[in-house]
């Protein structure tokens, strides 16, 4: 019998501050019983401090909990009364104030209560793990380490794992396995140096940006425009990120570098600029105080003028020529041009990269095991599209190195320290010049290329997050068209992946799907729908229904859709996705062609449902409209927690017609054993009519887009592995498709009237428009089985026919067409 590493049956988080409370929430997301500790309150309820923190979690955006109702599972506790309850906990994460003395005292206090296998981990971001370990009672020291989560912990992929000299190797592996599979995190082993990897590099990058902004005389808002999505970083870029993080927190992290890195060549820059200290003194700490680098004045955004110490309108723009340059896709050409260009904005962008590359090269050996760890830490912790070394390498390792050396020699760089020798050496490598090679990434400590971790948990990641130039080989092709590919990895399971933009579904995808399903039936044991990257699918692309040339939607608008999703409750914006590029069809009035496509879509959904081998949808990211309907017609869905699923058609004046309404009518009938299907339909009607988009897989379950037997996966890189296991399990169980339902009991005319009575009150109260009323009535009509006697029995074809007819009727209305056109143009919903 193999002995398993310890199971985390129960966990405790010490400290209910911003990070502690959110970590506790994420543990609950992962189905781990969790105690959340805080100091006892000086009130009647001694747990009042924790309870307030839990209440805050419910309202926080982006939501720390996968579904608000889970808040009750976080058990409040305080250090005075409940320490003995730590005895049941296998993992204790400490997240209290960043003070060695306080942490030491707490470790002393809790140690006697922990069982002898329990792991104690500190979420410190600045203190030395070795110093902390020294403060841990000896018996516990081997089971102590650092786990550094990033804010917000549910969404940021990175967790840095830091060992002390005493940390037990097996314990670290156990914990890493847990963090990866159970919490879904990307774990990077960091060395025990100040601020570890991501913050060390990320904060240096901010300091370098501030320094050069001053040198080149650029306003903060302009710097944010230059250092955001234009260079592959989050839109919040530099200063807005600072405001979001909190200027006091930023200051604290800078101070850690100032205090602990005296011998560092860049030490002189580890200090907060004057304006930053002054803001903090004034209590302007960023978003949490409503004032920081930026300030909202009415509808205008104002930005700090650091010289005058006042706010001014944010209006500086990126130079047109520089913008064109930054949008140049060829990285080699882009960097060459940036370096050459005389415009201060171009010089600025070059300078911040130069010093960042220089810094990373010098620091790498001290802070990380290899270049991959540094790049992934920055990507996962700061949301950059590429890590510093990846950018350097794709810009041409040797050319960039020469330029940096020239600038160092000319005294332009922030530090005069020479590049380490390995930088030169790896530039001579064949065939790839740089730190990243197909077999691994460079490690200065060993002077060799280091492969990825061999820890067994990573075998679950069939296609891990890849670095530059890493071209994953997605198995053997079975069939491939312009729009999709069917492939396998040698294990009798066929995988279909879409190649269309945002994985939308057009006629060609539908044809390909039909072929894929048939092939899977004939030659494989199961079929999985999995995309090589999110989203799962933004739904049907009706424009293609008429095979007309595609009018490109501006990519930025679409990207905005996805960016906004986590932040904004304005989910309606996304609802347009389903009908992307539909405007042309409408203007051409080619409704008949659309109807043919809808029929084709329904046929494909049904084929998925009644396929002779099990079908599994492996879902990550957005799955809207038709994408959601495919999921609903598979035998099983395996979805990452960060799956955003919804039948959002009503948002643009339509209704689900790829089998979504049919499926809800069918489920209501199946649930209504000896009762009225209407009782069950109410929930479905609300979901469809309100165009609800789930903001997590857990919420998708609550909205019935996912069923109780569907599986939620925490780590998206494990998604395909789990989907395969599910597919295999279904196949091994002697899979047969369900029998086609004979008697679907519908709510009929009475059901429609009752839904209308809800709608008419909203209409009379002017909460909805006449057109909303029409859309709602059509949805009611379809899911109630049409104008028939309540309790009538229908079949699936009947319901699908109603879907098609209602869809076309709505599409033919001027108001629906106006909604679609407006949403395509502005990215916002139209109320008409």
């Amino acid at each position: 019998m193999t002995t398993h590493p310890i199971r985390v049956r129960k966990a405790a988080v010490l400290g209910a501050g911003v990070m502690g409370a959110q970590i506790a929430a994420h543990l609950i997301n992962a189905n781990i019983e969790t105690l959340l500790f805080e100091l006892p309150a000086d009130e009647k309820d001694t747990n009042a401090n924790v309870i307030r923190a839990i209440e805050k979690l419910k309202k926080q955006e982006p939501a720390p909990l996968s579904i608000v109702s889970r808040a009750i599972y976080i058990e409040p506790a305080n250090y005075d009364q409940h320490l003995e309850r730590l005895g049941d906990c296998d993992l204790i994460i400490e997240a209290i104030a960043e003070r060695l003395d306080l942490k030491s005292q707490l470790y002393e206090r809790i140690a006697p209560h922990l069982h002898d296998q329990a792991i104690l981990a500190s979420n410190t971001s600045g203190l030395s793990i070795s110093e902390l370990a020294a403060a841990v009672p000896e018996s516990l020291r081997a089971r102590f380490c650092g786990v550094h989560f990033f804010n917000p912990p549910r969404y940021m992929h990175l967790v840095e794992l830091i060992a002390s000299e005493y940390s037990d190797a097996t314990m670290l592996n156990t914990l890493e396995t847990f963090l990866v599979t159970t919490l879904g995190k990307g774990v990077i082993r960091a060395k025990d140096t100040p601020n570890f990897i991501a913050n060390r590099i990320g904060i240096f990058s901010m300091l370098a940006t501030m320094h050069h902004a001053r040198q080149f005389g650029l306003g903060f808002e302009l710097v944010d425009k230059l250092t955001g999505s234009l260079i592959g970083r989050p839109k919040s870029a530099t200063f807005r990120t600072a405001d979001l993080v909190g200027l006091d927190i930023l200051m604290h992290v800078i101070q850690t570098m100032q205090d602990n890195l005296a011998d560092d060549p860049w030490h002189g820059f580890y200090t907060a600029p004057d304006w930053l200290s002054k803001l903090i003194k004034k209590g302007s700490l960023g978003q949490k105080t409503g004032k920081g680098v930026y300030q909202k004045q009415g509808k205008e955004i104002h930005v700090l003028d650091p010289d005058r110490e006042t706010y001014r309108l944010a209006e500086q723009e990126v130079d047109g020529e520089v913008e064109v340059l930054l949008k140049q896709k060829d990285t080699v050409a882009r960097f060459a041009a940036l370096r050459k260009h005389s415009h201060p904005q171009a010089q600025f962008v070059w300078a911040i990269h130069r010093d960042l590359f220089h810094y990373c090269a010098v620091q790498l050996e001290f802070i990380a095991n290899n270049a991959r760890d540094l790049d992934l830490a920055v990507r996962w912790g700061f949301g950059w599209q590429q890590g510093p070394f990846e950018i350097w390498q794709s810009a041409g390792w040797n050319a960039v190195l020469d330029w940096i050396n020239e600038d160092i020699a000319a005294g332009k760089a922030m530090a005069a320290v020479a590049m380490p020798a390995w930088v030169q050496t790896i530039g001579q490598q064949r065939p790839i010049q740089g730190v990243h090679a197909p077999e691994g990434s460079f490690s200065p400590a060993t002077g060799e290329i280091q492969p990825r971790s061999s820890l067994p948990v990573y075998r679950r990641q069939l296609f891990p997050d890849r670095l530059i130039d890493e071209q994953p080989i997605y198995g053997e092709t079975i069939l491939e068209t312009e729009e999709l590919r069917l492939w396998h990895t040698g294990d009798e399971i066929a995988i279909v992946s879409f190649k269309t933009k945002k994985h939308t579904i057009d006629n060609a995808v539908l044809r390909g799907m039909e072929e894929a399903i048939t092939t899977a039936e004939n030659h494989f044991r199961a079929l999985i729908i999995w995309q090589t990257e999110p989203p799962f699918s933004l739904g049907a692309n009706l424009q293609k229904a008429t095979e007309r040339p595609k009018t490109e939607m501006p990519p930025s608008a679409l990207d905005d859709f996805i960016r906004k999703i986590k932040k904004s409750a304005q989910a309606t914006i996304l609802k347009a996705a389903h009908s992307l590029d539909m405007a042309d069809v409408l203007m051409a009035g080619k409704l008949a062609e659309v109807e043919t496509m809808i029929a084709h879509f329904q046929q494909t959904s049904q084929h998925l449902r009644y396929c002779m081998v099990p079908t599994v949808a492996a879902v990550d990211g957005l799955a809207l409209g038709g994408g959601c309907e495919f999921i609903m017609h598979c035998d099983r869905a395996v979805a990452t927690l960060e799956s955003y699923i919804g039948l959002v058609e009503a948002g643009v004046g339509l209704l689900p017609a790829g089998g979504g309404c049919k499926e809800f009518a069918l489920r209501a009938s199946q649930q209504a054993v000896e009762s009225d299907p209407f009782m069950h339909l109410q929930h479905y009607f609300r979901t469809v009519a309100m165009a609800e988009m789930a903001k997590s897989a857990e919420q998708a379950r609550a909205l019935s887009y996912l069923s109780p037997s569907d599986v939620i996966v925490m780590n998206r890189f494990e998604l395909l592995h789990v989907a395969k296991m599910q597919a295999l399990a279904l196949a091994e169980a002697g899979y047969r498709p369900p029998l086609r339902p004979r008697e679907i009991v519908v709510a009929g005319a009475t059901g429609i009237a009752t839904f209308k009575s809800n709608l008419v009150n909203l209409l009379e109260g002017k909460f909805i428009s006449e057109h909303d009323y029409l859309i709602g009535s059509k949805i009611a009509h379809v899911i109630c089985g049409g104008d028939v006697v309540a309790g009538s029995c229908v079949d699936e074809e009947w319901l699908l026919g109603l879907e098609r007819a209602a869809f076309i009727e709505l599409l033919a209305t001027e108001k629906t067409q106006a909604r679609i056109a407006h949403t395509l143009k502005t990215g916002k919903p139209l109320r008409n």
Binding site: F678, K756, G765
Partner: protein, 399 residues
């Protein structure tokens, strides 16, 4: 015109305290239990009466289903320990059900067909939601435009009344504030003490720490709805619930509630037989229909109708219990008929005291008769608007 052969007297009247719904003190108390309680309590006020002599028990209930279904009147009669010879009937005229029960009881007696009838009402809005557990609309409602108002929620009708009778948000909030202030003051003065029969809530609760059943018993003797902390600012902050640009809020509407009330109606002969003295005399009752989309104005039609029928003049009324379904409709009624504000709901109304739909009529008869007697006044009225467009009004004389 009248075929009346004798007078109908009310000899006893009581009610439970009223709890807030759906999360108030009675959220776990069954409406049939509340009804049993008021039946037993009202009988205690009829010392010496032979329960075998009770001719009928008429109970008003607006959503007579589930916990208050299967003819809750008869169920409660038996559970209350009355002889099985005592019958029971449940009636429904939505918000006027309790008053309608009193009127039917009185008329049976006035016609000489009965001598002793208990009229009551019960409602748990915590357990049975507005419109019942299963809402089902006749498709014919939407076949044309003329009957769509059947589907209107009460809130929408209040908005329509506010618009048509030009009742401002400020006026509604002011009326709501006054309702709370009057109710709080009445409670402080002990005005409800005589009419309320305190209810003891008994329940077994699982104690998950001790793994034992834990018995809890709490006595409730005060209405839960009135708020001493209501202020014009707090009311002004509330958002309209029923219309995007509307004026009707949760603060200026009646509260959802749980409660029950019961009165004993008797002929003179029966009073003499059992040596009982009357609280008051039933004078008359009228009901009328109005357009369903402005159901709140019901009393504007019902009040003149009952005054004409009984020959009592409006200014002879000393006390009017006007059910405050909404401040909007209450003010429309008051203004249209020129009712004396000082005489309308002197102890507060449904905005503060709550409105357990079918029970309200019986409850407010208890309030009215006790109030008139305590303040040595003579004529009083209980009136209300009724969902889907009706008004009801009953006139009483204190003795």
């Amino acid at each position: 015109m009248t075929k009346q052969v004798q007078e109908a007297y009310i000899v006893a009247a009581t009610r439970s305290p009223v709890g807030k719904a759906p999360r108030g003190m009675f959220k776990h108390v069954r409406p049939d239990d509340l009804l049993v309680h008021v039946l037993q309590s009202v009988l205690k006020q009829c010392d010496g009466m032979d329960p075998m002599a009770i001719d009928d028990v008429i109970v008003g209930c607006a959503m007579p289903e589930a916990e208050q279904g299967i003819n809750v009147a008869r169920v409660a009669v038996l559970l209350a320990g009355l002889p099985d010879s005592v019958p029971g009937v449940t009636i429904n005229r939505f918000c006027a059900s309790g008053l309608q029960a009193v009127a039917i009881a009185a008329d049976q007696i006035r016609l000489g067909e009965a001598d002793i009838i208990i009229a009551a009402g019960t409602e748990s809005m915590s357990m049975i939601p507005m419109m019942g557990n299963k809402v089902s609309m006749n498709p014919r409602i939407f076949a044309g435009n003329e009957n769509v108002a059947i589907a209107y929620g009460m809130g929408i009708t209040a908005e329509k009344v506010a618009e048509k009778w030009k009742v401002s948000r400020e006026a509604q909030d002011g009326f709501a504030l006054q309702s709370h202030q009057r109710a709080i003051s009445a409670i402080e003065r002990g005005e409800f003490r005589e009419e309320i029969s305190p209810y003891t809530i008994d329940g077994n609760w699982p104690d998950l720490n001790l793994h034992q059943v834990h018995h809890v018993s709490v006595m409730k003797d005060t209405d839960e709805g009135p708020r001493a902390d209501t202020s014009p600012e707090a009311l002004a902050r509330l958002r309209p619930v029923f219309a995007a640009q509307g004026s009707v809020t949760a603060g200026n509407s009646s509260q959802m509630s749980d409660g029950a009330g019961a009165v004993v109606v008797m002929s003179e002969a029966a009073m003499q037989r059992f040596n009982l003295t009357p609280l008051g005399r039933f004078i008359g009752y009228s009901v009328t229909g109005v357009p369903p989309e402005i159901m709140g104005i019901g009393p504007i039609k019902a009040i003149p109708k009952v005054l004409q029928q009984t020959g009592i003049k409006q200014d002879e009324l000393d006390w009017i219990e006007l059910n405050e379904a909404f401040a909007a409709q209450s003010l429309a009624v008051i203004n249209e008929l020129g009712l004396d504000l000082a005489k309308v709901n002197p102890l507060g109304g449904a905005i503060a005291l709550g409105h357990p739909l079918g029970a309200t009529g019986a409850i407010r008869v208890a309030t009215l008769l006790n109030g008139l007697r305590r303040h040595k006044l003579r004529y009083g009225m209980v009136t209300m608007c009724v969902g889907s467009g009706m008004g009801a009004a009953g006139v009483f004389e204190a003795l």
